[in-house]
Amino acid sequence: MEKQLKKGAEASLYQTEWFGKEAIRKVRVLKTFRQSALDIKLRESRTRREALFLREAKRVGVTTPLVYFVDVNKTEIIMQFIPGRRLKEIIDAYKENISLKWCREAGRYIARLHSGKIIHGDLTTSNFIISHNRLILIDFGLSFYSQRLEDKAIDIHLLNMMVQSAHYIYAEKIMHAVQMGYQEIVGESDSLSLLERMKVVELRGRYKRVE
């Protein structure tokens, strides 16, 4: 019997079996409140993207769940079940060494994606899972290929915004750890030019003080 694990924003997760293995069925469900043409387009393109980038991420050394099966017509993906805790929870139960260790690893992951011309597009502390002492990145529905500095900067800017709001107490430490991890992979100069661009993106925000 399938059990619903989670009702996410755009997809529902069910625990299922795939040829004897524990698996997750991720279904992007119909949203009747939007135009059906738009709804189908979004659900299909995100299912495709997610399947593609779950695999592409592995190519650049980022651990993601294995994809078992993709059905674009049903807008569903069957993938490996990952037991573990979200980075969000690890940070909420804050133990400095442990939390920052994983944030640093998250920084390395983002850097590997960016070096491989991949933008995740939806980086939050909910989308990193710690499982068997390994970091796993999920939710690639908004991912795309790009090597523009702007896209990389926005990718991290979005994470920064969520960290500032959701984990405001440790926000500076968390983002510092992410940056250190990032820098380890891409080197200091690339990491600094990214930081510069992030500031530009940030100042574009509404009512940001121009200093």
Partner: protein
């Protein structure tokens, strides 16, 4: 700083409650509202008078012209608010004003009026953040207690939720606001701003959906591509109602998605829709759809109070004052850039 304790008992009648005269003056609207709170009774909006600067057709707000408009009608608007409330200046205990964010010249008119009243009548002067005030008035009127909020107007497109002393941001626009999207498209099509009401009327006439750029980045949205593409459709002689309909369907679906993402992230079970664009029934309808999926309660600011008004400033002025905050005239400069997540919220707890 004056606290409530040091203040009660000052002008006559104040033992029974506090009455605030609030002045809104961030953009096109100059508004004055008088709200009274009793010891235990719920707040009463005694008056809410608005005068709106109307830019020329096809043009946006000219800050200097808007501020001249405000300066010209300020005194009579205050007088009318008092008259409608059947009050005189002796009944007023505190004065609040929109200190920001907004257009500098407009903000300064409201601030000057508020300071003058405060100085002449020796009343505490209360600074209010316009965005926070939108939210707090809506929460008071709808009864939403701890909601995720979507604030959509000409100046804002932001998703926020209260945690540990601040309204924190869980999604926003990366470029223009949804109000700007609608107004700027309207101006390109030859209409005057604000265009929202006419926009919705046209959208209702069509069912012909044209594909437009849909841009979501994480929990954030971006409307600039949608605006450019919509203007192009109009130039290419597509029917106005079809373009309005398609902008509405696309832009609001983007908002609904980022709200849904934020709702799941912050794990709250109330959603509150606030701001001028909240008056749009299609947007309300889509968000109701989101709430239904996640078994959340949906609240929307009553239409009459969705746009900029004195009532929001007056109500949040009362809350701010009761929390012990006021400001000296010398520290009351306007803040045209003042994000809502910079305000220390002392009247809420969690």
């Amino acid at each position: 700083m004056k606290s409530l304790e040091t203040f009660t008992g000052e002008p006559e009648g104040s033992k029974l409650g506090i009455t605030c005269l609030g002045i809104e003056s961030t953009a096109h609207t100059f508004g004055v509202s008088i709200i009274s709170i009793g010891g235990s009774t719920k707040p009463e909006i005694l008056s809410d008078v608005r005068r709106v600067y109307q830019p020329e057709k096809g043009k946006g707000i000219h800050p200097r012209e808007a501020s001249r408009h405000h300066a010209k009608i300020a005194a009579s608007t205050v007088a009318e608010a008092l008259k409608k409330a059947k009050a005189s200046m002796e009944d007023i205990h505190i004065v609040s004003f929109s200190q920001g964010p907004g257009l500098g010249p407009c903000l300064r008119v409201g601030a000057v009026v508020a300071r003058s009243i405060s100085a002449y009548y020796h009343l505490p002067l209360i600074p209010v953040n316009h965005a926070v005030a939108h939210i707090e008035l809506a929460a008071m009127l709808t009864g939403a207690s701890d909601p995720l909020v979507l604030l959509v107007s000409g100046g804002h497109t932001v998703i926020t939720s209260f945690t540990s002393g601040r309204w924190r941001i869980f999604g926003e626009t990366l470029d223009i606001t949804v109000g700007q999207l609608i107004d700027q498209f309207g101006r390109a099509a030859g209409f005057s701003s604000p265009f929202g009401r006419t926009f919705e009327k046209y959208a209702k006439k069509s069912q012909n959906f044209i594909d437009l750029p849909y841009t979501i980045k994480g929990n954030d949205v971006s409307f600039s591509g949608l605006l450019t593409a919509s203007k192009r459709l109009f130039r290419d002689d597509k029917k106005l109602e079809d373009v309005c309909f398609s902008i509405q369907e696309t832009g609001f679906a983007m908002l609904a998605e980022s709200v849904e993402r934020a709702l799941v992230f912050v794990e709250k079970d109330e959603l509150l829709l606030v701001g001028g664009v909240a008056a749009n029934s299609r947007l309300q309808n889509m968000l109701q759809g989101v709430c239904k999926i996640h078994k959340s309660k949906f609240f929307s600011i009553p239409k009459v109070f969705s746009g900029d008004c004195g009532a929001q400033i007056s109500w949040n002025g009362l809350q701010t004052f009761k929390a012990g905050v006021s400001v000296d005239i010398s520290d009351s400069s306007v803040k045209s850039s003042w994000r809502l997540d910079e305000v220390d919220v002392k009247w809420r707890s969690n």
